[in-house]
């Protein structure tokens, strides 16, 4: 159990989670504005999809950071994996929006697909698979969960059960 004083300190110093919350809120807000713009009288403006193209990676990255942050340790080496994946998603979406439509029978194929499709399928769809689950496994004991953590929870559960049983009897 954390002492109240320690708790306050932890909350104040938990800048990683605070930053993640601000980023999550900003990402969701950008997505909301993008959707809102679609209701404008002249139809969806050209800039609306760009808000989603940036807002979605930011919101997903922020959500992962929020989940992975561990007290004062923050996200440790996971910052590289998160930065990579947010960049891959944002660059992939923005490239798909920005690159001109040149698909034709003469298009150069990348692993069997035209360039913009290859960016989407292999970039957005496959690159994160190579990085994220491996980063999760490699940092699992230090960043996510170890035997000591599980034992602390079990110990507290035993104390709670004992207290509850003594109150009942």
């Amino acid at each position: 159990m954390t002492e109240p004083g320690t708790r306050k300190t932890t909350i104040i110093q938990d800048t990683t989670r605070s930053a993640a919350l601000v980023a999550l809120f900003s990402g969701i807000l950008a997505i909301a504005v993008g959707y809102g713009a679609a209701f404008l009288p002249g139809g969806t403006p050209d800039w609306a999809p760009w808000l989603l193209a940036v807002g979605i990676p930011v919101a997903l990255g922020a959500m992962m950071i929020l989940g992975a942050a561990r007290g004062r340790v923050g996200i440790g080496p996971l910052k590289y994996a998160f930065a990579f994946v947010v960049a891959v998603l944002a660059i992939g979406f923005c490239a798909a929006l920005a690159l001109p439509a040149t698909e034709s029978p003469l298009s150069k194929l990348w692993l069997g697909l035209p360039a913009r499709a290859a960016i989407v399928i292999y970039g957005i769809g496959l690159l994160p698979i190579i990085v994220l689950p491996v980063a999760y496994a490699l940092t699992f004991e230090t960043q996510t969960l170890n035997a000591e953590d599980v034992e602390r929870v079990r110990e507290l559960a035993r104390e709670n059960r004992a207290r509850s049983e003594s109150q009942t009897s």
């Binding site: 159990m1 954390t2 708790r7 909350i11 919350l21 809120f25 969701i28 997505i31 909301a32 959707y35 679609a38 209701f39 139809g43 999809p49 989603l52 193209a53 979605i56 919101a59 997903l60 959500m63 992962m64 929020l66 989940g67 992975a68 561990r70 994946v85 998603l89 929006l97 439509a101 698909e103 029978p105 298009s107 692993l111 069997g112 697909l113 499709a117 960016i119 989407v120 399928i121 957005i124 769809g125 690159l127 994160p128 698979i129 994220l132 689950p133 999760y136 496994a137 699992f140 004991e141 996510t144 969960l145 170890n146 953590d149 599980v150 602390r152 929870v153 507290l156 559960a157 709670n160």
Partner: protein, 507 residues
Amino acid sequence: MTPGLPVPNLLLQAALPSAARPAVVAVGVIYFAVVVAISVWAARKTRTASDFFVAGKGIGLIALTVASVSVSVSGFAFIGGPGFIYAVGLGAMYIVLPAAVTNVMGAWVLAKRMRLLGEARNLITVPDAIGARYRSPAAQGLAAIAMLVGIVGYMATNALAMGVVINSIFGMGLGWGIWIGMGVTLAYSASGGILAGIYNDVFQGTLMAIASVLVFLFVLGFGGGLGEISRTILAQDPSFLGPWGKLTPLAALSFFFVFSMGSLGQPQAVHKYYMLRDPLQLKWYPLLKTLGLVLVLLLYFGVGVGVKAFVLDGRLAPLASPDQATPSLLLNVTPIILAALVFSGVAAATMSAANSFINIGAAIVTHDLPVAFGRRVKDELRWGRAMTILIAVAAAITAQRSGTMVAFLGIFGWGLFASTLVPTLAVGLNWQGATREGAIASILTGLVITLALETAAYLKFFRFPAGVTASAVAMVSSFLVFFIVSWLTKRSAQSTIDPDVRLVMEL
């Protein structure tokens, strides 16, 4: 239903062509025999409510992973999905591309904390976690009601999907298909609970992965490789292979948002975190689940793109409807044994999803709702079995009688779970500043907006702009409400967290 966006057939409802060939029927019979055998074994091992609802928290890593893959995809991955690609091109991939991040995101955001909460409090349901986090029976009850509304729709559509597939395999009529499919699912759900469900999911998920890989390889071989398939399509319909296919960028990105962030609120997947025998086995869970999903989704991409090319070059006749993409390929081109495997795989997918939702629905009625009203059911196992039967029968009757209403009920299930559960559960378990007022306001917002917008669109009172969906609007709104109300009521934030819950949140 959302007129502004092309809506994929998320839960199989359109009639399939008859596949009643001896090989297909034989594989179907073998499939059902294996399901029955697993169920009999599981029934003997189910003795308590914990066994029934969370498999006694004793499932190993591989079984849990395969089962989780199995319930994540449903029949959509095999029929509706490839058909949607055939109709709108690569834009349909934005429904499945999020799988690259969702499994590991779920592991970081929810898996550890849910599993440890289960350890600390003996929790057995998703609303249990919400009740424990906010020390609020009201939030738990409200989440349970929202989930129940979503489950009613999912169950009816899954019952209909089972009927469609079983009728296609055995040729016995839609009504009989619904009742036989639901009867078998009910038999193993009521007798063996989630234990039967998990091990049937393992069998079904393995079948789906094998079928998917074989069909994908066959399509590549038949089409001369992905490059040749692409050349054929680019010659006649280049926009099909554009980055958004035939969708608008906003529509495609909207799919990505709803199916990535929304995955954190899908109870059939989240509920499984409780069941892992050893929390430390979570280490390999995201990697294994992601690889499993990639295998199962190969068919989605391969058939969707392949059939488009085969129709364009005249090797397949034009399809009567997009949902015919997979059946047309299987019944006209592939070896019949492959068709048999896939049809059994589709039946497996629908039964797997139905079983999960029956179990979760029964837990809500016998556990969460009584807890919300300050009561406990004395014999949760017996009542759980009774509710399982009731939910399954109600779903079968709804599927048989209510026609287009079933489609409407099924379509908002995913969005309803996402908008009501994601902020409250996924953010709430990771942010000590979240308050019970924020949670309750967020769940209510998701529930009301989803129901109001979907109903207005279904009744044609309202039409969304292209690319905007009720699910997306509801999820964004419930997020914003959750943040704003939590910040407005932040004084109460710390006082609503019990010490053991706080420890779980700080680890």
